[in-house]
Symmetry: C2
Subunit: 352 residues, 2 copies
């Protein structure tokens, strides 16, 4: 394990993205949003994904110089064509658009088509917060790891939703959750270290029975949270983030994780909602603080040290990691060194 | 068991509500929305609740003649004060307002405060569908049956969300789900018949361990779907439906089920989103049909006869029940006869 300073990783990512053809401004923005996932504790969606992004950019599957286009714009809605660019760019633009609409109309609902994987959804749901707004992000997952309830075919993504809610003195509330019990990233860890997959995460496609052998993970289906309830949520989120925007869903989804060569046509959406249309922001923030403190000081189950409000740790984590850097596994450093060699850049390991 | 014709139940409910002081138009609307829950298969939220509603109306806890007031109205948002009226009236007005806003601005997000229990949320999420719109409903539950993840105090509702999505030749997609694994209504059935509560539904407040003895249900906490994920969803839904509207949440919630005598200040919200701001409605409807059929015709797990798309059975159920009437348990008929006696109406049992 090596600790890599954030600034070094940021510079490395900027250089790699720029060599792939992104403009300097776009490379900087994408690198910042990739590292934002690591900084806020979602390291499954951060720099660990860079080799994959670079592969798609160099292979021509993602467009490094997209012309983002607003196809439709009403008083409170917009639809954006991402021109197959990096999802981070498309979603940052969508969030900015939603915030502008909400400033004028109280709410902005912005959908995107022809986007790509955008990292951690919570990052975009958090963007409206500093404008005194609620943010809601949803997406069609970049691979189908679930079946509809009762089904045996992986036609449904673990479609995530993220919601950001401004607070006052307390940190903003930020939830960011997939509609599956576990993520495919968690399964992958068990595949790598050979430990059994906990029961309740995966069932076999052929028999619907619990699948715990990590060597058989590819024969499995991830289970939705709450059985048919999570399946229904994944369905509704997917239809609103995908087909409503003219983006891929169901049988149209190509697995981002297994080297697809065709455009993904990823669909995502974001809502910004201006709190001041409902009550003065300060009064709302005080109410959120009060409720957060009520929960934090409420009685705990045996063995629970602390009640964690989603989002409460984000700023603390950021400050810690800005100080300590990121602890990267040797395998990841090796992957990033390979990326550097391929792109003619100085190896990451020699920069640490 | 007796089969009660819908028209007889509707007339009975109208009379009962009118005796409680509702205007004839309001009594008719509320009765229709109560029975709509039964007709669409959510019988836990239909006529079974009438005795409770009547109790609150006669006891002065719910206002029979509310003056609904639009406190704030922007181009795409509104906040409504329900004046402590029946939740069905408040939410029907909120849905109408959201649809109007969406017609002009593409989207309407309408929050309500000082409302009450409104029956089945799916009814309101379905209202925008016939206008070519998506509907999204969310609410703070009328009692706290969950704790925040790690907590031992019931400070969180099983806060529900319902989403309606228009289709073409296929029935509209309609999801309506609480954020808990089971509902309190399901627990109550086990309490009544003495059968063990399935593991995974309830944990004990004192030890956090599975609680399956129905006699001890009152010592339990309902579990959220997906553990901390469902807890986070319930938190976010609750904050947006409650505090954002100036409505009750957390420690402010009074248990609707146990004879509260103070106003509940229930918070709910509804979004209407005009599909045609994103693509022509016919093209969208055809896409939803295609995806629904893909799921329905996809491979099934062993033992699964049919893949059920949420909402697909609603119209069929309605037609069946309009024909067959509702099969009411004798205990419910007795309760409704008691209501009739109290209000000076002809007993339900003599009308069947």
């Amino acid at each position: 394990m090596s600790a890599a300073p954030i600034s070094v990783l940021q510079q490395f990512a900027v250089e790699a993205l720029a060599v792939c053809g992104l403009s300097p401004a776009d490379a900087t923005q994408v690198a910042r949003l990739i590292l934002e996932a690591d900084l806020t504790g979602v390291d499954t969606h951060g720099v660990i994904r860079l080799p994959q992004y670079i592969g798609y950019l160099t292979g021509g599957t993602i467009n490094p110089r997209p012309q983002l286009q607003v196809i439709e714009r009403g008083p409170a809605t917009a639809l954006i064509d991402g021109d197959n660019g990096m999802g981070h760019l498309v979603m940052a633009f969508a969030a900015k658009t939603a915030i502008e609409l909400a400033r004028n109309s109280g709410i902005g609902w912005v959908g995107v088509r022809r986007s790509n994987h955008a990292g951690a959804g919570g990052i975009y749901a958090a963007m409206p917060i500093e404008h005194g707004m609620v943010g809601i992000y949803a997406a069609v997952s970049s691979a189908n790891h679930m079946a509809i309830w009762g089904g045996a075919e992986p036609l449904l993504g673990t479609n995530p939703i993220a919601i950001g809610i401004p607070a006052g003195d307390e940190p903003a509330v930020l939830i960011d959750t997939a509609t599956s019990v576990s993520s495919f990233g968690q399964i992958r860890k068990h595949m790598l270290d050979g430990s059994p997959i906990p029961e309740g995460w995966v069932v076999g496609r052929s028999d619907g029975k619990p699948l715990t052998d990590p060597k058989r993970a590819s024969e499995g289906l991830l289970l939705p949270i709450g059985g048919h309830k999570g399946s229904a949520l994944a369905l509704a989120i997917g239809l609103l983030a995908g087909p409503l925007n003219g983006a891929a869903f169901g049988r149209d989804v190509r697995d981002f994780g297994t080297g697809a060569t065709a455009e993904s046509n990823t669909g995502q959406m974001i809502i910004a909602l201006d709190v001041s249309r409902f009550m003065p922001l300060a009064a709302f923030a005080a109410e959120i603080d009060r409720h957060v403190r009520d929960f934090q000081s409420s009685a705990r189950l045996p063995g629970v040290d602390e009640i964690r409000i989603p989002g409460a740790q984000r700023e603390k984590r950021r400050q810690q990691k800005l100080q300590s850097g990121l602890t990267l596994k040797p395998a990841l450093v090796k992957q990033l060194d390979d990326v550097a060699a391929q792109l003619g850049l100085k190896a990451l390991s020699t920069r640490l």
